[in-house]
């Protein structure tokens, strides 16, 4: 098998990446032939805008300093772009709250403070897990297990908290919406938590729980939803493929030797990207068998980023032609494109 991908020139980032799940987000700005990348570093977020050839870049830094909070900076847990039909927003989740910016990071349009106890307690407070769902929803998970559903107008800052979903008992780790664009899929969103429990949702004015897949006491650190299949990555290094609405386990992959930190799917090609603390990025191929409505997974490619605990890996396009990778303490985004 010839080398499927080759390494391109890396993109430098202003601050190194922290060891957080899903710590890389990518937004493709097709009209301008640009790709935006964002990576969390402690209490700052680095945004890099790069031309598709990688030759022209520009940088922006965002702080977690909240507008009306007098306290010091808090750690950021995740930064991700949310793509809705009407607008793109950059969402930051921290120990203090949720910030939503215009997609280039220029203007903060919304701030939601988390309830923090007056005195320090043993209970952690933070938000983590970000997903844009259907036309107008952005969902964000909380350490308490709650999921905040925000209703996003097509423009402006009149964002409202429309609902709080209380199904998870443990901290939310990640959330994802159906990425194939297919209107036939019943499930719109999947949420995962620290015990590995997965909740499958149908969106709407009131979100409806379609299915709850019980975990096995191991964190599901990254989750994706593609053509009605939940793809979940765990602290054990396993990847599991479930049928979203029935919870039937279709495949189980002993994928990595350490905690998985990131999964991504290229919706058009069905390529799956997995990355872990073990320094490996792997590319898989998912295929649907419509007759039996089952999904199969096959291994395509390995890439080792030597001595790097990978914390973020994302495809740069819907076909999986290119992907970017970053890791703990690394001040660059390494890019790979298909040979």
């Amino acid at each position: 098998l010839s080398k499927m991908y080759h390494k391109e020139k890396s993109l430098q980032i202003k601050n190194s990446a922290s060891a957080l799940y899903n710590n890389l987000s990518v937004l493709r700005i097709a009209p301008r032939s640009l790709t935006y990348f964002t990576v969390v570093h402690a209490n700052t977020v680095s945004i890099v805008s790069a031309s598709w050839d990688g030759l022209n870049t520009s940088h922006r830094q965002l702080q977690s300093k909240e507008p009306n909070v007098a306290t010091s900076n808090s750690l950021i847990m995740q930064a991700a772009w949310c793509v809705l039909p009407s607008r793109d927003l950059l969402v930051l989740t921290s120990q203090k709250g949720i910030q939503m910016y215009e997609s280039d990071g220029s203007i903060m349009v919304y701030w939601h403070a988390l309830d923090t106890p007056e005195t320090a307690t043993a209970q952690a407070v933070f938000a983590r897990g970000i997903a844009a769902v259907r036309e107008n929803y952005i969902c964000v998970g909380e350490a308490s297990g709650g999921i905040l559903v925000f209703d996003i107008p097509s423009k402006g800052g009149n964002i409202t908290l429309s609902e709080v979903l209380e199904e998870h008992k443990e901290s939310i780790t990640d959330m994802a919406s159906e990425c194939s664009g297919s209107q036939e899929c019943i499930a719109d969103m999947v949420s995962a938590d620290d015990t590995g429990t997965l909740c499958v949702w149908k969106s709407g004015e009131e979100f409806q729980l379609l299915n709850k897949i019980t975990g096995f006491d191991m964190s599901c650190s990254s989750v994706k939803l593609w053509k009605g299949t939940v793809v979940a990555g765990y602290g054990t290094g396993q990847i599991r493929l479930y049928e979203a609405v029935t919870g039937i386990l279709h495949a189980e992959v002993n994928a990595h030797a350490r905690w998985i930190y990131s999964l991504d799917i290229a919706p058009f090609s069905g390529l799956l990207l997995s990355a872990a603390e073990d320094s490996f990025v792997r590319v898989w191929h998912l295929t649907m068998t419509p007759e039996s409505n089952t999904v199969e997974i096959s291994h395509m490619y390995n890439e080792c980023v030597t001595d790097t605990q990978i914390c973020g890996a994302k495809f740069c396009d819907g076909d999986g032609y290119a992907f970017g990778v970053t890791g703990y303490d690394l001040s660059e985004i390494i890019r790979y494109t298909q040979s």
Binding site: A120, T121, E170, T195, G235, G237, R258, I297, H299, N302
Partner: protein, 399 residues
């Protein structure tokens, strides 16, 4: 050391991180001091200045302070994350509860060393729960220092019981959050440590080497297999793929109770990794206590010990109460200019002291030894390193 750091971080996450970082830092601390003390003992055998009792007293003093109930109560209280500066201050004060006096520059260097040693453990620990085993390895060795002093031993046991109580109940996910917070605390520290470089556990760019072989952590399967299941959960197909590494099945689980085999080696010997035999050799030389011929490293330590041994004398009324001891090079530009691999602690040891005549002559001799790059290289105990600093530190860690 680990503990102070952990402690710090958990707090930031509003969980109990604190004791962690603190205890772990302090373990490294202890290790450091115990090494010095082993030197004192050796010196005592030569010159009779430091008695076994003196050594014990200092060690016990530090551990007693470190594990005192009040201090631990404070430590276990959830509170905001310490800064590196605060942490350094705490550790400096801790050191100063004994008769040791480290110059600020030495303290900085010592702190960096401890931080990097701790960072290595955090990076390499195969799964979050191993943080506990690392910490227990630390406490096991602290316990050995005070095994003859029942009340202090009780303090240490009590601390470990509290840690077990607070931390073993944490889930893997919570421990992972703790670890991630600690990693953020130590992020962007790329100080190169000569013995890590020499042992090939650290790269010249400061990153630690991650293994792609060996046992996977308990609970994890060796990567390389895909299982396809039908709707009834029966396996219908199995496929294999190349993992790119050479992993093996997990080792047995380490003991999470007060005593027992922790299985993991992390936290047992912070400075020595592969060169344990070597440091062992050094140590046995030092233990012989014959004044000459001696390996270069123990010669240096001897002189250092003599200088420190003078502390007792000088602390008598009317004299300057303490020496300031500089254990590490303070070449101001060193960190910025990133010295060559293996040299970061190459010419390591410089010592500043009070202007006492006797001490000055001592100093002159020390300076002579430490600055002379053409020392005879025969090192009867098998240390082949040209990096004397590394030897010194390795020696410090073999107790």
């Amino acid at each position: 050391m680990t503990n102070v750091f952990c402690r710090i971080c958990i707090c930031k996450m509003q969980m109990h991180t604190h004791p962690w970082a603190y205890l772990s830092l302090s373990k490294h601390y202890n290790t450091f001091f115990s090494k010095s003390h082993s030197v004192f003992v050796h010196y005592h055998t030569v010159a009779g200045v430091w008695s076994e009792q003196d050594r014990k007293r200092v060690m016990v003093t530090i551990i007693r302070t470190m594990f005192s109930k009040d201090f631990m109560d404070q430590l276990f209280k959830p509170q905001p994350l310490y800064s590196h500066r605060t942490l350094k201050t705490v550790l400096t004060r801790l050191a100063h509860t004994s008769i040791m006096r480290l110059s600020p520059a030495s303290m900085d260097r010592l702190y960096e060393l401890m931080a990097m040693a701790f960072k290595r453990q955090l990076v390499l620990c195969p799964r979050p729960r191993d943080l506990l085993l690392i910490s227990y390895n630390h406490l096991d060795s602290v316990r050995r220092f005070v095994e003859d002093t029942p009340n202090v031993l009780n303090q240490v046991d009590e601390t470990q019981r509290r840690i077990i109580e607070v931390y073993t109940t944490l889930s893997d996910a919570e421990l992972q959050l703790l670890r991630q917070t600690l990693l953020i605390f130590l992020q962007d520290m790329h100080i190169r440590v000569s013995f890590f470089l020499r042992d090939k556990v650290q790269n010249p760019n400061g990153r630690f080497v991650l293994s792609r072989s060996g046992p996977v952590p308990p609970g994890t399967e060796v990567p390389g297999m895909i299982r396809m299941l039908d709707s009834r959960g029966r396996e219908v197909k199995r496929a294999h793929f190349p993992s790119g590494g050479s992993y093996s099945s997990p080792e047995r689980e380490g003991s999470f109770s007060l005593h027992g085999d922790r299985v993991t080696r992390l936290g047992t010997n912070i400075y020595g990794v592969s060169q344990e035999g070597e440091t062992h050799a050094n140590r046995s030389c030092a233990a012989k206590g014959s004044p000459s011929p001696r390996p270069l490293a123990s010669e240096e330590l001897n002189l250092l010990a003599r200088l420190m041994g003078g502390l007792e004398v000088l602390q008598r009324p009317g004299s300057d109460p303490a020496y300031r001891v500089n254990l590490f090079t303070m070449d101001p530009g060193e960190e910025e200019e990133e010295a060559e691999p293996g040299e970061s602690f190459g010419d390591v040891v410089t010592i500043q002291a009070t202007p006492d005549a006797q001490a000055s002559s001592e100093l002159a001799r020390i300076a002579e030894v430490f600055t002379d790059q053409h020392q005879p290289t025969e090192e009867p105990c098998g240390s082949s390193s040209s990096s004397k600093g590394a030897d010194l530190l390795a020696l410090m860690d073999t107790c």
